[in-house]
């Protein structure tokens, strides 16, 4: 759970998936699972034009770090990288990239899925979807 095993970033520039993958590459790891979340062109059939991510920066980084630390502990992950974008994103751009390297592959998949599932529940980042006729903060209302 040292600093060197975890790479957390909240970036205004386009994410570099390869940087996540390179960070977790490790001679003792046999499997790396990666998740890349991209901006879809539609939500429930409605065309999305672009979206914006707003973050409570210091807390978002802290919550992402918590998730990475849990993964290192529970799944014996050697290395974890979690990068999240903020600002304005077009269709197909990367919103989040997560890479987890573990000695065996099953743990890598489980840990990576845990990371994205938990990130979506706990990390203070908000997505606003822009349509032709307006915009909404995603998931704000029941």
């Amino acid at each position: 759970m040292t600093m060197k095993s975890i790479d957390i970033q909240l970036l205004e520039q386009p994410l570099d998936t390869q940087a996540c993958i390179d960070f977790v590459n490790d001679p003792g790891s046999g499997g790396t699972a990666v998740f890349i979340g991209t901006v879809r062109n539609q939500t429930a059939g409605k065309q999305v034009i672009r979206l914006e991510f707003e973050a409570y920066g210091p807390m978002a980084i802290q919550e992402m770090r918590k998730i990475a630390e849990q993964i290192v502990e529970r799944w014996s992950a050697h290395k974890v990288a979690v990068h999240h974008r903020v600002g304005t994103l077009g269709i197909g751009e990367i919103a989040v990239a997560i890479a987890v390297a573990t000695p065996h592959r099953k743990a890598a998949f489980e840990a990576c899925q845990y990371a994205i599932d938990t990130l979506k529940e706990t990390v203070p980042i908000w997505k606003k979807e822009f349509f032709e006729d307006g915009a909404v903060w995603v998931a704000a209302h029941p």
Binding site: Y56, A95, K120, V123, P124, A139, A140
Partner: protein
């Protein structure tokens, strides 16, 4: 005491600002803060949830606040 509050996402839209100063009794709890907010801004009732962060961590309703705390309104998150 006066508490400084940061707002994000739809909470910012409801306040019409990304910051708010609220006057609260000494050692008022997170629950009291929420109560006052709902009275002043009923639109918060319509949200799926509203969490409060104190000094960059999720805070329980029972937590007493201090003047120098960094308090933030956390509407339902939607990152990823």
């Amino acid at each position: 005491m006066e508490i400084n509050i940061l707002a994000f996402g739809i909470a910012k839209d409801i306040l019409g600002s990304n910051q708010l100063q609220l006057q609260l009794p000494e050692a008022a709890t997170v629950a009291q803060l929420k109560q006052l907010l709902l009275e002043k801004y009923p639109a918060f009732e319509d949200l799926r949830a509203l969490a409060i962060a104190v000094n960059s961590a999720y805070a329980d309703d029972q937590l007493p606040l201090q003047q120098q705390d960094e308090v933030a309104l956390i509407p339902p998150v939607s990152g990823g």
